[in-house]
């Protein structure tokens, strides 16, 4: 150990190189953030409007990835894969809403957690039965492979740029929909006070199914877009699910705008923490020790962020029921 030397970012590196690295890491954070947004927008609506804790939200992410990977592999076209993945996730979502969740609206949260946790196991096992135990392969479409130098000197994968673009577009679309359409207004009304909305003649049952379909469609989109970057495997939804819950708690339950801010915040803190925590700890700790400490602190960073925000604003940044 003693004979080894370590290079660290930020030490003896020209300032502009460090700046470029920081910009690159911000892009990485943005990309994680928009993926989390796609997941949390749906989950926060479901939670906010239907008062259902849906642990199975990650399963729709997985369904999107599996269906997308399969259709892409069969047809050779990423866009066809996308066209298949979105309705598949939405349809399965609406089916689950109609068959399982409708029975749970009046029950307490423990029953919902148990039932949706059961759904996770059901879907994980189902993918294992249909697709087998090994992970599936999914490649970046040819027209998005390779890198672009949007930051001079640092090639950045084009596909990740595309993911950021799609995520921001969806955010814009959701904003327009909620702010400027009738259905958006109805959904918002349902989120703030569902009895009142129901009394005013809004078909809450239909809204529920639509919201669930929209939420799972977005989860499917997130899964489909994650497919080329990640391993498409049974249980892939659970690792992102925890982050998604952190996002909606930070953003305020039921608020899509809160989910957007929360997702970007979590994406940034997680990414920048992992990227720069080691260099920071090396300033005052022996290198080998610093790496271990930094790794542990970095993986805690978003939970620390969540704790701080909850102390400051117990209902999250932009709660729907404020």
């Amino acid at each position: 150990m003693s004979c080894t030397t370590y290079g660290h970012p930020g030490n003896g590196v020209p300032f502009y190189v460090l700046m470029l690295l920081i910009i690159e890491q911000i892009l990485n954070g943005l990309q994680l953030g928009v993926t989390l947004f796609l997941m949390s927008a749906g989950l926060t609506l479901i939670f906010g409007i239907m008062q259902v804790i849906n642990l199975a939200h990650g399963s729709f992410y997985m369904i999107g990835a599996y269906v997308g990977a399969t259709v892409t592999a069969r047809s050779g076209s990423f866009l066809l894969g996308l066209l298949a993945a979105l309705p598949a996730a939405a349809l399965v979502g609406m089916l689950v809403e109609a068959i399982v969740l409708r029975r749970l609206y009046k029950k307490d949260h423990v029953d919902q957690v148990l039932a949706t946790f059961g759904l996770i196991m059901f879907f994980n096992e189902l993918t294992r039965i249909i697709w087998g135990r090994q992970p599936l392969f999914m490649d970046v479409p040819a027209w998005l492979s390779g890198t672009v130098e949007i930051i001079p000197g640092i090639p950045y994968p084009s596909y990740r740029i595309a993911v950021i673009g799609v995520g921001l577009l969806v955010a814009l679309f959701l904003y327009l929909m909620f702010a400027h359409t009738r259905i958006g207004m109805q959904i918002r009304a349902g989120a703030s006070n569902r009895e009142m909305a129901g009394a005013l003649g809004i078909n809450i049952k239909l809204i529920y199914t639509l919201v669930f379909g929209l939420g799972t469609l977005l989860a499917g989109l997130a899964g489909m877009m994650a497919g080329p970057i990640l391993a498409v495997e049974s249980g892939m939804g659970e690792s992102i699910l925890i982050l998604t819950f952190v996002v909606i708690v930070i953003g305020g339950i039921g608020s899509v705008r809160g989910a957007f801010i929360g997702a970007l915040l979590v994406g940034m803190v997680d990414t920048l923490g992992r990227a720069f925590m080691p260099a920071f700890f090396r300033l005052f700790l022996p290198t080998a020790h610093a790496d271990g400490v930094a790794a542990s602190i970095a993986s805690m960073s978003i939970y620390i962020l969540m704790a701080i925000i909850l102390v400051w604003r117990p209902k999250g940044l932009l709660p729907a029921h404020a």
Partner: protein
């Protein structure tokens, strides 16, 4: 709710009991068949079953009954299953565990109860050194082996500044330590990532910034797939060579990684192309039985079964002769698919270790090709720490 409960109770009561009083020797396999890592247990089980099928229900001429249970990668659950095997089924030979943390939780109690345990995969240092036991055998490898071989190879190939990456948990640190035991150059960076992490973009950016001349990583399962895909999407696979133990490059994972893994050199104790008669026979039979190329895990399951068979044969199926059975196991008198095979004093393998390269298999897929024998008759670093009574 109550009704549902009654139905469940009835269902459990009506399930056929598996406790038949029979002659075949029972072998308990606790392995991981569910979770993301479920394919590992599937490979070990299928390899093991192939050996039994080849002898038409016997091992070493002795009829056997294989009991398989899924531990879900959960040490607590694995312990319960092991207990049940020992108490209810009176199992005297056990095998199957995939993960080292599960093995550390389960094995000590098993071997203390005078049940023989033959590990087909997990080989933690805790069970190789001070915690070794006369009833514990590892037929696969000591965990560090597959990193040591890469360390030596990278060192001999003249790399001077290597970047290291592993998940932040005990096995991650062990694997990097195994690499560093034989790699003598500088270390460009040593990064511990979150266990189960899926996005490696921040680490990859930091890695490029450190300008290493090579990367060594231990990221088992899906984590490895994610890392290699993202590493190649960042365009780095063209400039910085990647090395690692075989765990991220078995034939089933390669299907999910695709071309991104081409040319990666990885360390293993076995490859399907090893030119040994027993191996040619095994690979052909496995392909015929399951329609896929066996991974190293399948070879380990097969070897575990054959080793057990050799011992059962010498006691003619009488598992109550524990001392004779153990002595027979220690001899390792079976035709290994790895060619020469023996047990070191701590009952872990003495074997050759190879560097393999990921190549196209000619049918649109990817596979491994043995490149170089780096160690011959290699043992492990913990032999001296093991004091067996």
């Amino acid at each position: 709710m109550k009704k549902l409960f009654m139905v469940l109770v009835l269902f459990v009561l009506l399930l056929p009991s598996t406790t038949w009083a029979t002659k075949p020797v029972k072998i308990g396999m606790v392995t991981t068949l569910s979770t993301k890592a479920g394919y590992l247990g599937e490979e070990v089980r299928d390899g093991f079953k192939l050996a039994i099928a080849q002898e038409e229900g016997k091992l070493g001429g002795v009829p056997v009954e294989l009991l398989v249970e899924d531990d879900g990668r959960d040490p607590g659950k694995a312990k319960q299953i092991a207990d049940r095997f020992m108490k209810r089924d009176d199992v005297k030979i056990m095998t199957g565990l995939i993960f080292s943390n599960v093995a550390i939780a389960v094995v000590p109690k098993v071997v203390r109860s005078d049940v023989l345990y033959i590990s087909p995969n997990a080989g933690p240092s805790a069970l190789a050194g001070k915690g070794c036991n006369k009833n514990y055998f590892n037929v696969a490898y000591q965990n560090d082996n597959l990193d040591e071989v890469v360390g030596k190879y990278v060192n001999e190939a003249g790399f001077k500044n290597v970047y290291l990456l592993a998940p932040n948990y005990p096995a991650g640190k062990d694997h990097l330590a195994g690499f560093k035991r034989y790699y003598k150059g500088a270390i460009a960076g040593e990064v511990y990532t979150k266990l189960g992490q899926s996005d490696y973009a921040p680490e990859i950016a930091a890695l490029r910034d450190a300008k290493p001349d090579g990367v060594f990583f231990f990221l088992p399962g899906g984590m490895g797939i994610n890392f290699i895909k993202q590493f190649s999407q960042a365009g780095l696979n063209k400039t910085i060579p990647v090395f690692g133990p075989a765990f991220s490059f078995d034939e089933r994972l390669l299907g999910a990684v695709g071309a991104a893994a081409l040319g990666v050199k990885n360390g293993s104790q076995w490859t399907h192309d090893l030119d040994v008669p027993a191996n040619r026979q095994f690979v052909a039979a496995f392909r015929e039985a399951y329609g896929r190329t066996p991974t190293l895990y399948a070879s380990q399951g097969y070897e575990a079964a054959r080793l057990i068979g050799s011992a059962l044969k010498s006691v003619e199926g009488d598992v109550s002769k524990l001392d004779a059975l153990r002595a027979a196991l220690r001899k390792a008198d079976f035709e290994s698919v790895r060619g020469d095979f023996a047990f070191a004093a701590n009952q872990h393998p003495v074997q050759n270790l190879y560097i393999r390269e990921v190549v196209e298999d000619g049918a649109g897929g990817y596979t491994n090709k043995t490149l170089k024998t780096v160690f011959t008759a290699h043992s492990n670093a913990y032999v001296d720490a093991c004091k067996m009574d």
